[in-house]
């Protein structure tokens, strides 16, 4: 399952999730503000602290709302 690292107050996180919904893609949300552990997981997978971050089943990591890259990985 695709994982989306995000928070409720992040505009591009909301946009990313809305986009995945529009493509009928299922994903798990990991709220980085919920726990230090989630924050550490974000840093572990992406090497940075910015959100949103999408982690695909293939292990590919997309930082930010990078629609062309997301489209490419979804296809």
């Amino acid at each position: 399952m695709i994982k989306v690292f995000s928070s409720d107050s992040c505009g591009y996180c909301t946009k990313l999730k809305a986009y995945l919904d529009s493509r009928r893609v299922k994903y798990d949300v990991i709220d980085v503000t919920e726990s230090r552990e989630n924050y550490d997981r974000l840093i572990g997978v992406s090497g940075q602290t910015g959100i949103p971050v999408t982690v695909f089943d293939s292990g590919e990591v997309v930082i930010g709302f990078d629609k062309p890259r997301i489209d490419s990985l979804l296809s």
Binding site: G11, Y12, Y19, K67
Partner: protein, 347 residues
């Protein structure tokens, strides 16, 4: 799938055979014809200017389409708190953006947030906005794509954006009442903002990479004579940091010795210029030397039927209220243009 729909779909498909490449393998690609949409008004950008234009246009019965590749609300959506928009003593940028969206959508405005514009062909006689999936052929266009502040390009900038890294003192300064803040930049705007901040913050530290400012001398003198403004010449901001969610210090380097040090700052305000989002318009519309759209107070651009509103337009003050005002004027003039155009076509 129903047969007529399938037939239409097949008619819309062109199968292109690429030349043979490796070892006789043929590659095929499918190119879908884009849907052509003839409409009265396309608004590019869903910040305060674009949304206001859409509200006025919808109420005028123009059925506007709004295209936005970033966030609805534009730069407002990235602001932690808005305290200078009439009617709201204090509101988060997220909330205000959602109010803007809800207002437009309640009037039936279509906001497309995912289709990205590939190019715009704008002339007096014909307007075409080509996106990834559609071709819009509107009678009139309002460009409200906004401007984005030039980034500081320091490592932790995005982490602390809105939580210590800011681009608008007028908007965000009140959060730093009684605190020490920094201002980065070398022009009059940076100094004006430092003076503004000096009335709110306990202390303002100006971080200037060079040994002088390229600002008006009178205003520089005022800054130099303001007791709670400290000017650090030959000093470059290299990073910002903090142990929690909010910024607590800046890392600066002496540009002569390259020696770095930390200075405690609750925020830095960046005034190193802004970048208008006009990359798609070069060659289509007259731009000023900084890339902003040259448009008059009626929001008319160099192309008939194309209007510019908000931060993307050449103007002195870039505020939410001035963007909203621009949006209203642009929509009203677009309405006039469309009516005239319809009459000309009918006549």
């Amino acid at each position: 799938m129903q047969l007529p729909r399938l037939t239409r779909l097949l008619n819309n498909l062109r199968i292109l055979q690429n030349p043979p490449n490796f070892r006789g393998i043929f590659a095929y690609s499918i190119h879908m014809e884009k849907e052509i949409i003839k409409t009265k008004l396309v608004i590019v950008g869903a910040g305060p200017a674009g949304i206001t234009a859409s509200i006025y246009a919808a109420r005028a019965g123009l059925d506007p389409v709004v295209l936005e590749k970033g966030l609805v609300g534009g730069q407002v959506a990235l602001s932690s708190i808005v305290e200078n928009y009439p009617g709201y003593m204090s509101i988060t940028g997220t909330e205000l953006s959602e109010h803007l969206r809800a207002h437009a959508q309640a009037l039936g405005v279509q906001i497309d947030e995912f289709d990205v514009i590939e190019r715009a062909e704008l002339s007096d006689s014909k307007k075409r906005i080509i996106t990834e999936s559609k071709i819009f052929e509107p009678t009139a266009v309002i460009i409200a794509t906004g401007a984005v502040p030039k980034p500081l390009l320091v490592r932790n900038e995005s982490r602390f954006r809105g939580k210590g890294v800011h681009y608008c003192a007028l908007c965000d300064a009140p959060a730093y009442k009684g605190k020490t803040v920094g201002v980065v930049g070398g022009g009059s705007a940076a100094i004006e903002e430092a003076l503004y901040l000096s009335n709110i913050a306990e202390k303002v530290v100006m971080i200037r990479r060079k040994s002088s400012f390229h600002a008006e001398k009178a205003i520089l003198r005022r800054a130099e004579n303001t007791p709670n403004i400290e000017i650090l010449y030959n000093t470059d901001l290299t990073d910002v940091g903090g142990s929690g969610d909010f910024m607590e210090y800046a890392v600066v380097a002496d540009t002569l010795t390259l020696k770095e040090r930390k200075i405690p700052l609750s925020a830095v305000f960046a005034y190193i210029g802004s970048v208008p989002r006009t990359e798609l318009l070069r060659g289509s519309l007259e731009l000023d030397p900084s890339g902003y759209i040259a448009a008059d107070e009626d929001m008319k651009t160099s192309v008939e039927g194309v209007f510019a509103a908000g931060d993307v337009r050449t103007k002195r003050y870039r505020q939410i209220v001035t963007a909203v005002s621009d949006g209203a004027v642009a929509a009203l003039n677009a309405e006039k243009y469309i009516l005239q155009s319809d009459q000309n076509t009918a006549g």
